[in-house]
């Protein structure tokens, strides 16, 4: 399990990535997909995932479809064109961020010196 501070900034990117790989998903499916893909290292709480889904919908990145399942309604989320662009941007930004962090935490000689001062 990673700390919530570490996960916090990545939830939007994770959701956008999942939805760009899958045509449409519902809330529970997204949480399970993240848990399964990370072998339980990342388990999102309700407060981490649903507010973000609703924010992304309000800002036009996601669109929803309702479908009747048994005796209840299910809300499916999918990316809009705008959401698709945002997903690509976010993934690119995240990959760049990871590369930066890697080079930073690899502790190159010069940096190591700085950190020990």
């Amino acid at each position: 399990m990673y700390s919530s501070e570490l996960i916090k900034g990545t939830v939007t990117t994770l959701i956008l990535k999942l939805l760009s790989d899958n045509h449409r998903m519902y809330g529970y499916q997204i949480t399970q997909a993240i848990t399964e893909a990370t072998e339980g290292k990342i388990t999102l709480t309700l407060a981490a995932i649903y507010p973000v889904l609703h924010k992304l919908k309000a800002s036009g990145e996601l669109t929803t479809e309702k479908e009747k399942v048994g005796n209840r309604m299910r809300i499916y989320y999918s990316l809009t064109n705008q959401g698709n662009d945002t997903a690509q941007e976010k993934l690119k930004e995240f990959a760049d961020y990871l590369a930066t962090m890697k080079s930073l935490l690899d502790l190159k000689p010069g940096l190591q010196k700085c950190l020990t001062v």
Binding site: G27, T45, L46, Y50, H54, K68, G70, I75
Partner: protein, 357 residues
């Protein structure tokens, strides 16, 4: 996913829905999302052999402390709180006082301008003729505050959300609301008949309106009604709905609205309750604005039909029209009230069904 293997019954789903509400979930779409989430989680446990009650308790028990409350708060914060202005009860009252204050200052301004008119009667008349315009221009800055705040927040957060909630609603909603407005004239009339206090003021207002070009009257009334709906439904009721139950929010916003519309307090309170209710059901300002404007014109049209033509306003009532015959009057009042209740029941059911599909 084990969809379809075990399906919860309607009563089991109702138990989960009630539990979510009890634990603090208020936002409609979030509640729908979470209901499905919990149903799937519970169904999975039932497939493993647990009873419904055990699965229910285990699923809710696996949550962190106040996780549902946190989800609700964070959703509201992300959707509304950081981007749009929403007043609580005290701030709503503050907005009302500000409207009164600006209205008072505006009226003093008009008085100051009219000092140039020599004749005292002319000055009085000029002032009376500008009465509606004063109200319109005092409401404009008040409505401007939340709009300005929202635009400012939007620029900061870069998230596009509408300032006011305008959603398209089915055409029958307008038809039913128009009918309800028309019927309310009959069942609200006893108030005007038995409270002379309302009559004098309305009579004066009608005389003032007659000094205007009818087009200006229509423009000012429509403009004023739209502005007041933006303020009382679009800002105040929307804000109150986030901090209290829908019943309380509609009641308080209607009370403030009726105070603003004094001396038509009683009738405007009822109209405001209806307007607030339809806003809450549809989350759209279209039907509430339509209803409030329609009621004005239906009401004036009815009074003209009942024989108002320069004579005392309060004589133009259905009560006089039927020659004080209770055998005709009472069934009309009670019948219109019952029909209104029936229409509201119909609309409530139809809108509830639609929100689920």
């Amino acid at each position: 996913m084990p969809d379809g293997v075990t399906q919860l019954t309607k009563s089991q789903i109702s138990i989960i829905r009630a539990r979510l509400k009890q634990d603090g979930i208020k936002t409609t779409e979030l509640a729908e999302d979470l209901l499905d989430h919990f149903c799937v989680a519970i169904e999975e446990k039932m497939v493993e052999g647990q009873t419904f009650n055990a699965a229910l308790e285990n699923t809710f028990g696996s949550l962190q402390e106040d996780e549902l409350k946190a989800t609700e708060m964070k959703t509201q914060e992300l959707l509304e709180g950081k981007k749009t202005y929403y007043p609580n009860l005290l701030q709503s009252f503050g907005l009302l006082l500000m409207t009164f204050a600006i209205s008072w200052v505006a009226s003093k301004g008009v008085q100051a301008i009219s000092v140039g008119i020599e004749d005292l009667e002319m000055r009085k008349q000029w002032f009376e003729q500008n009465y509606l315009l004063i109200i319109v221009f005092s409401v404009v800055p008040i409505v401007g505050i939340p709009i300005g705040y929202t635009i400012w927040r939007k620029r900061q957060t870069q998230i596009n959300l509408p300032i006011f909630s305008f959603r398209t609603v089915p055409a029958y909603v307008y038809g039913v609301m128009l009918l309800i407005g028309f019927l309310s004239i009959f069942w609200l009339e006893p108030l005007a008949v038995f409270f002379p206090f309302f009559q004098q003021r309305r009579e004066a207002e009608l005389l003032i309106l007659e000094n205007f070009d009818p087009l200006i009257v229509v423009f000012v009334i429509v403009g004023l009604m739209i502005l007041l709906e933006l303020l009382f439904r679009g800002v105040i009721l929307r804000g109150l709905l986030m901090t209290m139950t829908s019943t309380k929010a509609i009641f308080w916003s209607s009370l403030f609205y009726a105070l603003m519309m004094y001396p038509y307090f009683a009738s405007m309170f009822f109209f405001s309750l209806l307007s607030g209710w339809i806003y809450w059901k549809t989350r759209s300002l279209y039907p509430s604005i339509f209803f409030i404007i329609a009621i004005q014109f239906v009401s004036y049209a009815t009074f003209h039909f009942l024989g108002y033509s320069g004579k005392l306003y309060f004589q133009a009532t259905l009560w006089n029209y039927v020659d004080h015959n209770l055998l005709i009057y009472l069934p009309l009042v009670i019948g219109s009230l019952l029909l209104t209740v029936g229409l509201l029941y119909y609309l409530n059911r139809k809108l509830s069904v639609e929100s689920q599909s």
